[in-house]
């Protein structure tokens, strides 16, 4: 009951945290997908680059997020705040996106690829006319996984002053305010679960 009263008194605070969080996540996701898309196309033309990038980003992915946030702060153009947080989120996403995109595009039935090549499609035509339309599912799965993990990792971004739901938790911890902490957890988990469920539903519609 106390939890509900807290929300009634502070609904402005909660809504602002939620909307800041969603904004940060969406910007990070769009930039992530754009970057991963470009890198995937490069990887389709130069296989070794793809292997190398996947390897590098798998290392990035294994760095604990709070450490990566801290590491980025001293870099030129970074510092405290939302932009640094978004840069970190974009870096984290590359591994999951690249791996799903590249395996998806390479997973197209070899007979279809042979027929298309034999008919005289260029490598680029093969990608956009055949490979991409036939790997919508793995591409979408990659985006869903990236989105859900971004929602979670963005909580940590509050430590470097990026705001969002994480701020409820950090301030709650500092001031010993259990209601704040709980609301932070509820919003973060709720956002993650609802987004995931919605995307799984969309995914089923894709053949």
């Amino acid at each position: 009951m106390e939890l509900i009263q807290f929300a009634q008194r502070n609904h402005g605070l909660l809504l602002r945290a939620l909307s800041e969080h969603i904004q940060m996540v969406l910007i990070a996701l769009i930039l992530s997908v754009l970057l991963a898309g470009v890198l995937t196309i490069v990887a389709m033309f130069y296989k070794r680059v793809g292997t190398f990038l996947t390897y590098i980003f798998s290392i990035v992915y294994s760095i604990p997020s709070i450490a990566l946030f801290a590491l980025m702060i001293p870099l030129p153009g970074m510092g405290l705040g939302r932009n640094t947080a978004i840069a970190v989120l974009v870096l984290y996403n590359q591994f999951m996106l690249l791996r799903n995109f590249i395996t998806g595009l390479n997973g197209v039935d070899p007979a279809i690829v042979e027929a298309a090549t034999g008919m005289g499609m260029t490598k680029a035509q093969l990608i956009y006319k055949v490979r991409v339309p036939l790997s919508l599912k793995p591409i979408f799965v990659g985006i869903r996984l990236a989105l859900v993990s971004t929602i979670a990792i963005a909580i940590i971004a509050a430590f470097i002053g990026a705001g969002g739901i994480g701020l409820l938790v950090t301030i709650g911890l500092e001031t010993g305010n259990d209601n704040r902490i709980l609301w932070g957890v509820i919003l973060a988990a709720g956002l993650g679960i609802i987004t995931n469920a919605a995307l799984v539903w969309v995914e089923r519609k894709i053949k």
Partner: protein, 255 residues
């Protein structure tokens, strides 16, 4: 049929060895194919017949030797352009599952940016040519067709821009005996009406002898014999061709 004197395909001492292998997959193939011939390439798996076929549209490149199509050395031509001039059909068909039958057949005309009217007319014409009813099939997707119907679409797609040369890699290999006979007859009919050069790979000796105006028999990368079906049956040049024909006769004994 009186063969034309125009050389459509010429292999000049063509050799191909795959990475890591210690033998040549195709070993010094040297022969000429004239325009309008229906050439079948007969051989068991590993004989190099598919490798020879794939070098003809530059899906593979020879290590040495040259391939000349209508007087032009294809080594000097962009592979994409070589392929767009040649029809290509394979056993697994490889239809695009996300496109309708009409879109599948229109693939190469679209790559060549034909206008829509011309594409539509050509697609209907081809559908009829391969024995399918346009109104019934054109809006369907490949998954809604039987194996035999899919291969008919594969042939239509390969014939789309009226290529002078058609490469067919065991196109009927996965089709049941009855449909296979029908498709063989129709392919023969299509060839007869079109004045095209067909290169047809198969491991089925009956199919090779039935369809080919001349037959290339391959074993271990080499051409054992290149002759008309009659001559191959009457005068096999070496033990391998002889054993092929004997095995075929032995099968007939069951009847």
């Amino acid at each position: 049929m009186m063969p034309s004197t125009t050389v459509a395909i010429e292999y000049q001492h063509v050799c191909k060895r795959f990475n890591g292998a210690n033998y040549n997959a195709v070993n010094d193939v040297d022969l000429r194919i004239y325009e309008g011939e229906f050439i079948t390439i007969l051989g068991s798996s590993g004989s190099g017949k598919t490798t020879l076929l794939k070098m003809t549209n530059r899906l593979l490149d020879p290590d040495s030797g040259d391939i000349i199509l209508f007087g032009e050395n294809i080594r000097d031509v962009d592979p994409v352009l070589v392929r767009r001039r040649i029809g290509y059909a394979i056993q697994q068909v490889g239809l695009f599952p996300h496109m309708t039958i009409a879109e599948n057949i229109a693939t190469v005309p679209k790559l060549l940016k034909w206008d829509k009217m011309r594409i539509d007319d050509r697609v209907r014409e081809l559908t009829v040519l391969v024995g399918l009813e346009p109104d019934e099939f054109l809006t369907r997707y490949p998954a809604q067709l039987s194996g035999g119907q899919q291969q008919r679409v594969g042939l239509a797609r390969a014939l789309a821009i009226d290529p002078k040369i058609m490469l067919l890699d065991e196109p009927f290999g996965a089709i049941d005996a009855i449909n296979r006979l029908n498709l063989q007859d129709e392919l023969k009919r299509i060839h007869g009406g079109l004045k095209k050069t067909f290169l047809f790979v198969t491991h089925d000796i009956n199919e090779a002898l039935k369809l080919g105006t001349r037959v290339i028999v391959m074993n271990e990368g080499r051409v054992c014999q290149f002759d008309t079906p009659e001559n191959i049956v009457k005068n096999p040049t070496d033990g391998f061709v002889e054993s092929l024909i004997r095995s075929c006769r032995e099968q007939e004994r069951f009847w």
